[in-house]
């Protein structure tokens, strides 16, 4: 049948378009179902069932991503989004991060007086936004995806209603996040002014056809977009919000911020840098350092060094993990400089990092007493009181430090190998030195758990929660699996980044 009007053509394309954003649709549908079921439940009833319901939708989302793996990239919604292996790989990371955070919330939130059903609904909306962000090939859909991720995140940060620190975290995240969004939107406006289009490929075409060094509008626009996205990954000098927000937020939400939000912002950075601004990587002859490669080199060194040095003196495990997550963003920025191999290393790193970080935060949530104690002194003697959980925390911390045979070792190895192959010797040396420094503060937690004497009175053991135990178990399993046999995951990451280049 031949469609005889434009309206009919676009109408017949809609089902295909909707299939392209299926992971997003599943997440949003899950959020809506959670809200409605929440209304039908008795007000005083436990909301753990809603957590399980949201897990169901997140598993569906993983399936929706996996079922299309290997299909060629498919543009949808008049080229605003693309469904490719890159977005599917990241979609799985987002869904896994959200599912593990939800598991932690099921075990942790009932005794914290948090907003309950809403927590899972907002988690699902944010996950959907992250998926859309990873699929965006246009600055407008990128912006709306980022906001769809950020606004639920601000609310999640403030969702411990009786805790002033949570309110402070939400407020700080919101104000500074809105400020960063302002930079991003202004940058988008300038890029549109320079290129006459918000399509990433049109901006790349402009950069390819004329020298960018004289085009001030393009340069300022690109810089502002970079600032907006670097804020989201908490790169130095845009990291000030992260420790306070990560410490004040409910721990399951912190786990989500440190993994899914960061991974989504890296997805956007990869798309913008490789699809829109590949020609701005280096300057013209004589000014080779003028492009974003030089800029990001400086930011990577600053982010790694500042975060690791401040983390050395932290006495609160949750805050320590916040600084550790800033430092990991620094390592990941190195990957942005290393083209295809670097992008693949970033995806592998993000997958490994998701398991180790969510696992560590889940254990923080597990050890957290009703007083909200996360300081290092609370961890003294845990090796005797909670032997299994302490071993799990040790494995996750070793992985964060990059000690073999864990996933953390191989993610750093692939990243640094890509950097050496691209000739970033100094940067690699700085990164390796930094990971040596970081081993000190990760090991401090271990030392506190096993080797320090208990001075305080004996504390009662925390009641084990099946949901948190399951989350930690999955994390430890994958951290070891990706450490012992990393090849299939690296191959998946390698084939996923092909569509970026």
């Amino acid at each position: 049948m031949i469609p005889d009007s434009i309206a009919e053509i676009s109408a017949s394309q809609v089902p295909g378009d909707l299939m392209a954003i299926l992971p997003f649709l599943v997440a949003v549908a899950g959020g809506l179902v959670v809200i409605i079921v929440d209304l039908l439940m008795r007000p005083k009833a436990s909301r753990q069932a809603l957590g399980i319901l949201s897990l169901l939708f997140l598993v569906l989302m993983i399936l929706a991503c996996l079922v299309d793996v290997g299909k060629p990239p498919e543009m949808a919604f008049s080229d605003l989004v693309v469904a490719d292996d890159f977005s599917r790989f990241l979609g799985v990371i987002f869904a896994v991060a959200a599912a593990l955070s939800a598991l932690t919330a099921i075990g942790r939130l009932p005794d914290e007086g948090a907003a309950r059903g809403e927590f899972y609904a907002l988690l699902l909306f944010a996950t959907g936004g992250a998926c859309l962000l990873a699929q965006a090939t246009d600055l407008i859909s990128m912006f709306i995806g980022l906001e769809c991720l950020s606004i639920p995140a601000y609310i999640l940060a403030a969702s411990l209603r009786r805790d002033p620190r949570s309110a402070e975290a939400g407020f700080k995240y919101f104000i500074l996040g809105a400020f960063a969004t302002g930079f991003l939107v202004y940058g988008i406006a300038l890029l549109y002014g320079a290129a006459g289009s918000t399509q990433l490929k049109e901006i790349a075409r402009l950069c390819a056809t004329q020298p960018w060094t004289g085009n001030l509008m393009l340069i300022v626009g690109a810089l502002l977009v970079l600032v907006g996205l670097l804020f989201k990954i908490a790169a130095v000098p845009f990291h000030m919000w992260a420790p306070d927000v990560y410490q004040g937020s409910p721990t399951p939400a912190t786990a989500f911020f440190a993994t899914a939000v960061k991974a989504a912002a890296f997805a956007a950075l990869l798309r913008v840098l490789f699809m829109a601004l590949p020609d701005m990587r280096t300057g013209t002859a004589g000014y080779e350092d003028a492009g974003w490669a030089g800029l990001l080199t400086v930011i990577a060194i600053l982010t790694m060094s500042v975060a690791n040095l401040i983390a050395l003196v932290q006495n609160d495990v949750k805050r320590l993990l916040a600084y550790s997550s800033i430092a990991h963003a620094g390592y990941l920025i190195i990957g942005l400089l290393c083209n295809q191999e670097g992008a693949a290393a970033i995806l592998f790193y993000l997958a490994a990092y998701t398991f180790m970080t969510v696992g560590a935060f889940a254990l923080v949530a597990y050890f957290e007493h009703k007083s909200g104690g996360t300081s290092m002194t609370e961890y003294v003697g845990l090796g005797r009181r909670h032997p299994v959980a302490a071993v799990a925390l040790c494995i996750l911390l070793f992985s964060l430090a990059g000690i073999p045979p864990t996933a953390g070792f191989f993610s750093k190895f692939y990243l640094f190998r890509a950097a050496v192959n691209e000739g970033f010797i100094v940067l690699t040396v700085v990164a390796v030195l930094n990971s040596v420094v970081s081993a000190y503060y990760y090991l401090r937690v271990t030392v506190a758990m096993y080797m320090e004497d208990e001075t305080q009175e004996k504390k009662p053991a925390v009641k084990a929660s099946f949901a948190i135990a399951l989350a930690v178990g999955i994390c430890v399993l994958f951290v070891l699996l990706m450490g012992v046999h990393p090849t299939p995951y690296l191959d998946a990451a390698r084939s996923s980044v092909l569509s970026l280049f």
Binding site: V81, F125, A126, L132, I151, G193, G196, G214
Partner: protein, 165 residues
């Protein structure tokens, strides 16, 4: 000629009012400056032939949203001593110097080359053409914005409601 005069007039006024929004000590004064700023932006939209956007800018932003702002500020009823003294003169001075430097560089280097944007069509900026855009090529951002608003409503209830259960 006239367009340039109006552009620089309204643009300059908008920038000056935006500075006043953050420079004024009394929040009411800031809010009034913000209303003025939004009217100037509406005028700039009108200069760009985006008449519908100009009208919406006045109705929604200068009208509805700013009225809510005013209500909130008046309900909070801040006293002069609660507003605090202005501080951080060093930071302000440094900021001004940097701003001046950026402005000078921008004015010196900006070539202002005309872009090859498509010509303005007959129905540009009308409700119909905006509707066709929103419900046609830009349907995805438009629909996702509703998810965004739903999340924001959920957040307002979650954070502000006295008793959740």
């Amino acid at each position: 000629m006239w367009e340039a005069i109006f552009f620089w007039g309204f643009g300059g006024l908008a920038a000056a009012l935006a500075v006043l929004v953050i420079a004024m000590k009394n929040p009411i004064h800031s809010a009034v400056a913000l209303i003025g700023n939004m009217f100037c932006l509406a005028a700039l939209f009108a200069l760009l032939d985006a008449h519908f956007l100009a009208a919406i800018q006045v109705l929604v932003y200068a009208g509805a949203i700013m009225v809510l702002f005013m209500f909130v500020i008046m309900l909070l009823n801040l006293k002069a001593e609660e507003l605090g003294r202005s501080r951080r003169t060093l930071a302000k001075g440094l900021g001004l110097v940097l701003l001046a430097w950026v402005a000078v560089r921008f004015l010196a280097e900006f070539k202002g080359e005309a872009l090859a944007l498509p010509a303005v069509t007959e129905d540009y900026g009308t409700i119909e053409s905006i509707g066709r855009l929103i419900f046609g090529p830009q349907i995805l951002p438009f629909e996702v914005a509703s998810v965004l608003l739903l999340a924001a409503i959920l957040g307002a209830v979650t954070i502000a409601k006295k008793r959740l259960w």
